[in-house]
């Protein structure tokens, strides 16, 4: 029962957001601020995550596929496809569920318990349009950018790891990567990143927006936003794979 109640509250928050998404003038300034916080500020961590994902994938694939019958290009194919289809979107999603999700939930939670949301509403603001819409929109708009950064860094990390460890020459790596490069994979990754961006920010907004009970309540809603964000990312990943692949 509680689940349905929560789902109903979540849906009505999203509906309010959707309905008020036309009030662009209300959230224009906030939108750019959020785009910077979600996108621009996340780039360094995503570069790091991407490079390490790619290089670890390469080293481990090289270790697992150590056989004379398997051409080295196979490693490139495995690494690049895994990164483009799965890892770039999911790992950056999980990392940002922590970074972005926690920040959004804390911000909104603090605003809720310190009556800032009430203050906004009592001034005649549409607090959903002012707070929730720009954050969710920023998630949706910036996650594909994050995906691109993670993919490129992942592949670069893969090539670099193969080269510096001497296990996979870059030419072989790229040959395999190109051989199994399907534009559909990239489209799939972009779709995923849209969905993940939406999930992380909307759940964090929901948890923060309805936070109760002072500082501890904010802490709880932040934790829940992070954990639920991760869970729903994995769930959505599964559903999308089942639906689209």
């Amino acid at each position: 029962m509680r689940v349905f109640k929560e789902l109903g509250k979540y849906s009505s928050l999203l509906y309010q957001g959707l309905r008020s998404s036309t009030e662009f003038s209300t959230y224009r300034k906030n939108l750019f601020q959020e785009l910077v916080k979600v996108g621009y500020d996340s780039v360094p961590i995503i570069i790091l995550v991407g490079i390490f994902t790619g290089s670890v994938m390469t080293l481990q694939s090289a270790y697992q596929l150590e056989s004379a019958f398997i051409p080295l290009s196979t490693i490139g194919a495995i690494v690049s496809q895994s990164i483009l289809i799965e890892l770039a979107a999911v790992i950056s999603g999980l990392v940002l569920a922590g970074k972005v999700g926690a920040r959004v939930a804390t911000e909104l939670g603090t605003m809720r318990v310190s009556e800032q949301i009430d203050a906004l509403e009592s001034m005649g603001f549409n607090s959903v349009s002012f707070l929730v819409v720009p954050r969710v929109l920023a998630g949706i708009l910036m996650f594909p950018v994050i995906y691109i950064v993670a993919s490129v860094c992942g592949l670069a990390g893969g090539v670099a790891a193969g080269y510096f460890s001497g296990q996979v020459p870059p030419a072989d790596f790229l040959e395999g990567a190109r051989m199994y490069f399907y534009p559909w994979d990239v489209a799939f990754g972009v779709v995923k990143s849209f969905v993940f961006g939406f999930i992380i920010t909307s759940i964090a907004c929901y948890k923060g927006y309805f936070a109760t009970g002072g500082a501890e309540g904010v802490g709880n809603s932040t934790t829940q936003a992070t954990v639920l964000g991760c869970i729903y990312i994995l769930l959505a990943d599964f559903i999308l794979a089942a639906l689209l692949l």
Binding site: T110, S114, E115, Q116, D118, A119, S122, M123, G124, N126
Partner: protein, 246 residues
């Protein structure tokens, strides 16, 4: 004029109050008093339609505010200035911007006009030197005053104060009380003060609404209150006076 008619509110199984009815006259300072947790702030949030009651209605300008659609509710709220208990300043922007905030979104004033208006409001609350300070650096009393400046910046018809003097030293509290009185007299705004500070009530209020035992226990003018022998009200006042004396 704000007519509150037979209001009932409960959160889940917890009844806050029922059958609350009274009228707030134009230009009056109405104090809503009662013990902590009796639902004073909840009542305040009904008056500008932030919360919706289970039953009853509030009539402002001959319209039940709970029948308004969301856009009209927001237009109504712009007639209210609210000073929140914790001031509810936006921590992401500085003092000046906090006060300028409603102006930027609800008026077409240019930067010069905004600056002029904000500085006038800050001067009024005696904080013009703190304009560029971050809100986190402000003391409790300063925060209240910034909150007040923000509440009056759009020149509202009604101002609601939620525990304006709580957590303040007596001197600062007196300053705030002075401001409340001055606002009401100088700009002829209708004021609603939620408080449990009897000192403040005696200082500023014209009328008093006493919430107790999940209902409106007593309503009348400040003079009537002084002579009232209603047991709960007398107990409440006595306890407060005892505290003041201490």
């Amino acid at each position: 004029m704000i007519e509150i008619k037979n209001l009932k509110k409960s959160f889940g199984d917890l009844l806050v109050w029922e059958g609350v009815s009274f009228t707030i006259e134009e230009g009056d300072i109405t104090a809503i008093i009662g013990r902590s947790g009796c639902g004073k702030s909840v009542l305040l949030k009904h008056i500008n339609a932030l919360l919706t009651p289970d039953e009853g209605e509030i009539i402002i300008d001959e319209k039940n505010i709970f029948d308004l659609d969301y856009v009209d509710k927001r237009l109504l709220r712009q007639k209210f200035g609210v000073l929140f208990q914790g001031s509810a300043l936006f921590d992401s922007i500085n003092t000046f911007e906090n006060v300028a905030f409603p102006l930027r979104y609800f008026t077409n004033q240019n930067e010069e006009e905004i600056h002029e208006n904000v500085m006038r409001a800050l001067r009024y609350v005696n904080l013009e030197n703190a304009a560029q300070q971050e809100t986190a650096e402000l003391s409790g009393g300063m925060r209240k005053r910034v909150g007040l400046a923000r509440a009056i910046i759009l020149e509202p018809k009604y101002i609601m104060y939620d525990e304006p003097t709580s957590g303040l030293d007596p001197q600062t509290a007196d300053e705030i009380n002075g401001l409340i009185l001055d606002m009401a007299r100088q700009f002829d705004v209708t004021s609603i003060v939620v408080t449990h500070d009897m000192h403040s009530v005696l200082e500023v209020a014209d009328k008093v609404a006493f919430l107790d035992q999940q209902k409106l226990s007593w309503f009348g003018t400040i003079d009537e209150m002084k002579q009232s022998n209603q047991k709960d009200l007398v107990n409440f006042i006595t306890a407060s006076e005892y505290q003041i004396k201490q």
